[in-house]
Amino acid sequence: MSANPDEPNIAPAPGGSTLLSIQNVEKGFGGRKVLRGISLEVAAGEFLTILGESGSGKTTLLRLLAGFEMLDRGEIFIGDERLDTMPAYRRPVNTVFQSYAIFPHLSVFENVAYGLRARGVSKREIPERVGRSLEMVKMSEFSGAAPAKLSGGQQQRVALARALVNRPRVLLLDEPLSALDANLRRQMQLELKSLQREVGITFIFVTHDQEEAMALSDRIALLRAGLLEQVATPREIYASPETAYAAQFIGQTNLLRADVHDGLAACRTITWRATGPAGRAIFSLRPEHIRLAQPAPPGKLTDATSARFKGTITNQTFGGAADLLEIDCGDGQLIRARVASPGELAGEREFEFDPSCAIRVREGSEP
């Protein structure tokens, strides 16, 4: 059932056993291709985030998993079972909707009990399971309340309880925190993460917020225009992005379009030692990897391991521990650097960075 390991763009699940296997999935709406061949494996108990801008196809992918849309090509398996041909109401997955989708005509209790009743769980078992589920999301006292009386955050919790009470094999979350205000959102992020560890259910979380993705996920699947750019842990994507898009989307970066010759990369006024094939290449250089160059001690040449360049500071944004500098290197080349509280800076200065921090990236998929 597991995908062919020779498949070029398959993203294998790390560690544990593969629970969900998405294979070459394509989906279009009226001639417009929304997903252009997605292959992805999700491990049991993993917290996987599908991250992408609006229009990248992330919600479509989630809806394919839930069964609200039918795929055009490809296959989806859960364990040994074929998932994509199953009707939504038979799939062992549950969804937390962006707008919560709480049934307005049912009490909180009945909302949570809905899935149990629909699947024919015995009547005696229902109150206990609903009670435990509401307890888990700290909503026990609202059991008899009408949904209209609940705040957004409370409805969110009910939606979570309603999904988790069914003990799904995979929980799908469609931007569930996007409607909450910033404080509540951070709190819910923490709760969501600890809840996931507690119940041990595989979470597939869709968001456009890269910070949220980094804070929550075991792995991030970065989606762009219907194709996966990179699937890796947040740290891996941040430290070694594979594409220019991934580098830009996860954290801030400087993209340097350089020519590589004889082990040297040159991007206008900046040169550094680089490995890899010669020719045109794109490098990602994180702002925090650039520092103010130390003046060379007299009588000694500059440190050969670091790359140096000169530039004029055009803007300095105070940021507490580190300031963000915008540096004009001449020739229209703008570089951003994050420098540990340097005090007020101005004029032309020399900067340096470790060449190994300039990560060679691919152009990435065309939108």
Binding site: Y89, F97, A101, F103, P104, H105, Y114, A118, A163
Partner: protein, 308 residues
């Protein structure tokens, strides 16, 4: 906030309207129902309950009232059975054809009531379209053959006799309560369709998806989510169909015949040919009370089933 002049300009016309065309006629109706007609044919202002006693004494009145209620109930149920599935299909499944189908459902509302009445007359009559088609298809003949066959037991003579039967139209089609129910169902189904469609359009689609997601089959989803959430439309549509049918007097006049008489026809004749305005007023008052109490009941029901 608003000037006195503005307030009076916007409030006086509807007020005048309500007083002149509703309150005064109702007050007159109320008074008339307690008056009586002298043997010489004059209306006498002697307050009494004679008209109401007359209504109870003559079984015809109560029977007609009950028939009207029964016809109204049939029409309501049939209009719901026809209107709800169409509204359901249009709202939830007819993605591309929706506008066209919606217009097709609404178009009958643009044709005059009388035109549609006469159309049914032409369709249902003994020389009508329906009998013509049935005759062409030999359905009526076949029915007759079957009947003859059964009546005459197994004699071969009955068979030959059966084939010689000339066309005998089905006569129960026109001038019967059946015809009234048919015509009024045709006329009032759009009145059920519209509020049901509106309420179905207001059912959030993600609730339907949530129901599937939680393991409910399409049928369970309909029963536990779509139907409860469209109840306000059902109540509103059913009220329209019932009240409008109950008060209808043209359909019985056109296609009802003697057996399809409804209570409004009696009221009309009391005010016309029979020239017994007080009795007509008394019957009208009873109808009014019935309808108003029904409206009160459905209003409460609607508020109970309506969700924020």
């Amino acid at each position: 906030m608003y000037s006195r002049a503005y307030k009076s300009v916007v409030t006086i016309p509807p007020l005048v309207w309500v007083i002149v065309f509703l309150l005064v006629p109702y007050a007159l109706l109320f008074c008339y129902s307690f008056w009586s007609v002298s043997p010489s044919g004059l209306i006498v202002h002697n307050w009494n309950l004679g008209n109401f006693a007359e209504m109870l004494r003559q079984p015809m009145y109560l029977a007609t009232l009950l028939r009207s209620l029964r016809i109204a109930a049939y029409v309501t149920i049939l209009a719901l059975l026809l209107g709800y599935p169409v509204a359901y299909y249009l709202s939830l499944h007819a993605s591309k054809r929706r506008d066209l189908l919606y217009q097709l459902v609404i178009i009958p509302l643009w044709a005059s009531y009388l035109v549609r009445g006469y159309a049914w007359k032409t369709i249902l009559g003994t020389d009508g379209v329906l009998n013509g088609v049935l005759n062409f298809l030999h359905v009526t003949n076949a029915l007759l053959v079957l009947q003859t066959h059964l009546n005459a037991s197994f004699s071969s003579h009955a068979w030959t006799h059966g084939w010689h039967v000339t066309f005998v139209p089905l006569s129960f089609l026109l001038y019967s309560p059946f015809a009234v129910v048919l015509m009024l169902t045709h006329i009032y189904t759009p009145f059920v369709f519209l509020p049901v469609y509106a309420s179905l359009e207001h059912v959030p689609r993600n609730l339907i998806e949530a129901s599937y997601d939680l393991g409910a089959s399409p049928w369970k989803t309909f029963r536990r989510v779509v139907l409860p959430l469209s109840l306000p439309g059902i109540v509103a549509g059913a009220t329209f169909a019932f009240v409008l049918t109950f008060g209808d007097f043209l359909a019985p006049l056109l296609v009802g015949g003697p057996s399809g008489i409804m209570i409004s026809n009696i009221v009309a004749s009391e005010f016309g040919a029979a020239y017994d305005w007080p009795l007509g007023a008394a019957i009208s008052l009873c109808m009014l009370l019935l309808v108003v109490s029904l409206l009160y009941f459905t209003e409460r029901l609607e508020r109970r089933v309506a969700f924020s």
